[in-house]
């Protein structure tokens, strides 16, 4: 056994004194350097969720159609027709800030592995992105890099990117957020879990060789030096976490090889290697299976000479998986991997749990040098994987929040509504044109609309005429003012987005991007956001089947605004015709469907709106939605659109929900896309143009009487806005702009801002 470390080493590894004590008591002795380092990564915030877990428990996670809830690599629902759909969202924020191309690229790679680990073929990616303002040259560099990283990896690996989010706000200047969501599908019976079982079975490492990539990347590896004769000794020199480089070609082959292995029934369990690398993959599979595992570090193919056990066990080299197989299948596994030119090395063995002095049977993870060689580390797999201490960190209502909430932007002087509207329009097409959004011939609605809509089809799937819809939403402006209501509203907005393509929400995934959890205000925000999400999901019987928490998004002591990103998965039962989209026609009547006024004190609140925020007014109150009206509205819109998708004729010709930028923006977006203007009557106020709250839809209909009749029958309020006509968008006396100008400004906004200089 290697010698015990000096007491201060654990702090250098990001472990507190109490955690060190805990480790000592778990082991019944002091850990050696290597063991301590393994705990250091596995008990890091990123791997163990130690600050957030007690709060995440409050989320609803079950439902009759949930096949796999949180805790596995991805959540899975039964989508019908024998098809299961897997979904997962992850953040890759910090790596993207250092090397935007590779950071974003490896983010895509990682999320794909989470999906095909479940036996699902990855079918689509979404990429919610958050940057500082583009007037800053570094932000432009980050945007270019991140977008080309997602494009470079996603296109090449062969998974379409079908949507995302794009937010610019100064709070992300030093800390951009790069979240990636992936959806996959599988024949229900192919579902696999990352479990090791069967004593004598082998752990086979598949994919890339292991280098010094991202060592210490997940743990807060401080710069204090290591010393000693063991594995951690040479860490000093290598501690600069080296940037992970993605290899989409390796990943593509890995996807195909793994899906073939699963189809051939050659694996017992499989797990991707992500954060914390091999130690995470082996300890998690062993812990889930209640078995022990021996890992031979010398059997791991290495890309660089002189790597030490600590580095091998924690490297975050990309494009690797660990498969648990029976020894009889080894030759078949090797042959299949050879076909795909995938490296396959036996690096571990499933062993009996060990009888502890207290009579317990405990699965031990042993790191060895050669299968029968020296034991370099020996720790209970469960302790590493599941038993990190949980913290209920102090929470505090932010002292500054009351003042901020009182500063309602309703008194902000109004200028030219025309100019305000033009300045707000941004077409993210510059981003998504760089993404293959059509591969697999499933994309019925691609990026650029309210939600993406896919045929539920793919190689190897049973036939189905169903479709799935996905949207990602976030509203940090709202959440800064009221994280609870803001997060709930974000869920509602996602539901509204799905309704626009005729899909009913079935499950939620979330990525909680927050600041430093050691700031009590941040913990309060996080806890509130989780409660808001839980309430909204409960109201719609929506299970939360997966998520990711990214903390420490701060710089210079300043935390980002709370940024919960909500991913929604919906299903549509019969998809043979595309939904109406935004393409309204001349002479259609335009109606606003849903409650025209907000539920709270103010009819048209501006707090947290894009309009107010652009003027530096970040204060005010946000109000929730009136649930009954919202529910009825969603049901009406979903039903109307679903009928169209099922092939029925309809008078509804266009549907768009009112969200960022308010009613005026929704109308302008439809104008730009349709290339036809509209004449809308005088509204109540300037605020009605730009107020943001979910639950309202702009619908164009060729037979307003018929539509109004159906709305009335469904108990849904409806307000006639005007008609589609001519080549100008006119809203009462406040807006009068030509279609061409709207389209041009919207199209060029992003390109012009990025072109300021390279």
């Amino acid at each position: 056994m290697v010698p015990s470390p000096p007491q201060s080493l654990h702090r250098a590894l990001g472990l507190s004194d109490d955690e060190f004590e805990e480790i000592t008591s778990v082991l019944g002795r002091e850990p050696n350097h290597l063991e301590l380092a393994l705990f250091g990564v596995m008990w890091s915030e990123h791997c163990s969720y130690k600050s957030s877990r007690i709060h995440l428990r409050r989320l609803p996670t079950t439902g009759p159609h949930v096949l796999v809830g949180p805790g596995e690599n991805a959540g899975v629902i039964d989508a019908g027709d024998g098809i299961a759909v897997a979904i997962r969202i992850e953040s890759h924020n910090h790596p993207s800030a250092i090397e935007p191309y590779q950071g974003a690229a490896t983010g895509v790679g990682g999320i794909l592995r989470d999906i095909f680990t479940m036996g699902a073929r990855p079918l689509a990616v979404m990429d919610p992105l958050f940057f500082g303002e583009l007037s800053d040259a570094r932000q432009r560099w980050l945007v270019e890099g991140v977008v080309s990283g997602i494009s470079g990896y996603g296109n090449s690996v062969g998974v379409p990117t079908i949507g995302g989010e794009l937010t610019f706000d100064d709070c992300y200047r030093a800390n951009p957020l790069v979240n990636v969501l992936c959806v996959g599908a599988l024949p229900k019976e192919r579902l696999v879990l990352g479990i090791a079982s069967g004593v004598g079975n082998l752990a086979v490492l598949l994919g890339s060789r292991t280098g010094r990539d991202g060592i210490g990347g997940v743990s807060v590896l401080a710069s204090a030096g290591f010393s000693g004769e063991d594995g951690a000794a040479s860490l000093d020199e290598a501690k600069r976490p080296s940037v992970q480089v993605g290899d989409p070609y390796e990943e593509k082959r890995l996807i195909e090889a793994c899906l073939e292995l699963l189809d051939a029934g050659l694996v017992v369990g499989i797990q991707d290697l992500g954060g914390a690398g091999l130690i995470c993959g082996t300890s998690e599979t062993a812990a889930r299976g209640g078995v022990g595992m021996d890992v031979d570090v010398s059997a791991v193919p290495q890309r660089e000479p002189g790597m030490v056990p600590y580095e091998i066990m924690t490297s975050e080299s990309q494009e690797r998986m660990v498969a648990i197989i029976t020894p009889e299948n080894l030759e078949a596994v090797r042959a299949l991997c050879a076909k795909w030119e995938i490296r396959a090395s036996v690096v571990g063995r499933v062993v009996e749990p060990t009888l502890q002095p207290n009579g317990d049977l405990v699965g031990m993870l042993r790191v060895r040098n050669g299968f029968d060689g020296e034991v370099l580390a020996e720790v209970p797999a469960k302790a590493l994987a599941d038993e990190a201490p949980l913290y209920d960190r102090p929470r505090q209502y932010p002292a500054w929040l009351d003042d901020l909430r009182e500063d309602d932007p309703g008194d902000e002087p109004i200028g030219s509504a025309n100019d305000d509207l033009l300045e707000m329009l941004v077409d993210p097409a510059w981003v998504y044109r760089q993404y293959d959004s059509q591969l697999f011939l499933n994309t019925v609605v691609g990026p650029g609309r309210d939600a993406a809509l896919l045929r539920l089809a793919g190689p190897g799937l049973p036939n189905s005429s169903r479709g799935i819809a996905i949207s990602t939403d976030s509203n940090p402006r709202w959440c800064a003012l009221n994280p609870r209501t803001g997060t709930a509203l974000t869920v509602f907005e996602g539901i509204a987005n799905l309704a626009c393509v005729g899909a009913s929400a079935k499950a939620v995934v979330n990525c909680l991007n927050f600041g430093n959890p050691e700031h009590p205000e941040v913990m309060w925000q996080l806890s509130e956001a989780i409660d808001g999400m839980a309430e909204a999901c409960d109201q719609f019987h929506l299970p939360v089947i997966g998520g990711n928490v990214s903390l420490y998004n701060e710089s210079g002591g300043a935390d980002i605004d709370p940024t919960p990103v909500i991913g929604l998965l919906g299903v549509i039962d019969h998809l043979v015709t595309p939904p109406p989209g935004w393409n309204w026609n001349d002479d259609d009547t335009l109606v606003l469907v849903g409650a025209r006024r907000a539920a709270g004190d103010r009819d048209y609140p501006l707090g947290g709106s894009r309009w107010a925020t652009r003027r530096g007014r970040r204060g005010g109150e946000i109000t929730g939605v009136e649930l009954d009206a919202f529910t009825a509205t969603i049901a009406l819109v979903t039903g109307e659109v679903a009928a169209i998708c099922a092939g029925e004729t309809s008078d509804v010709t266009a549907v768009h929900d009112v969200s960022g930028g308010g009613l005026a923006s929704a109308l302008a977006e439809m104008t730009a896309v349709a290339g036809v203007g509209a004449s809308v009557k005088e509204l109540d106020s300037h605020a009605e143009l730009f107020s943001e709250f979910p639950g309202r839809f702009v619908v164009a209909t060729s037979d307003v009487d018929a539509f109004a009749g159906r709305a009335r029958a469904a108990g849904v309020p409806l307000f006639e806005l005007g008609v589609v006509t001519g080549n100008r968008l006119i809203i009462g006396s406040m807006i009068d702009l030509s279609v061409a100008e709207i389209a041009e400004r919207r199209r060029g906004a992003l390109e012009d801002a990025l072109a300021a200089a390279l």
Binding site: E99, S208, G211, V243, Q244, V245, D247, E250, E341, L758
Partner: protein, 86 residues
């Protein structure tokens, strides 16, 4: 004066080089044996107006570091080229 400068950009040591590795894997099938450690890199050729060779190289180096490479994963070196570019 006009100097012809070449900037070579290579991946830093320890950074994975999937392109180089893929090319290397393909070589035996093409009948090339005994070729190892293939690394892919980029190069940029340019004419630089400057008062001296030294000044031209300095400008190229600054350009290389600020624009042509990302120092987190790449090394960039500027050198004087022999032929004058078109």
């Amino acid at each position: 004066m006009n100097y012809f400068v070449i900037v070579d950009v290579t991946l830093r040591e320890g950074i994975a080089d999937p392109e180089g590795a893929t090319i290397e894997r393909a070589l035996p099938a093409l009948g090339f044996s005994g070729v190892h450690d293939v690394k892919a890199g980029k190069s940029f050729r340019m004419n630089i107006e400057a008062d001296s060779q030294g000044a031209a190289l300095e400008k190229a180096t600054s350009l290389a570091e600020r624009l042509l490479s990302n120092p987190v994963i790449e090394d960039a070196r500027a050198r004087l080229g022999e032929v004058h570019a078109q």
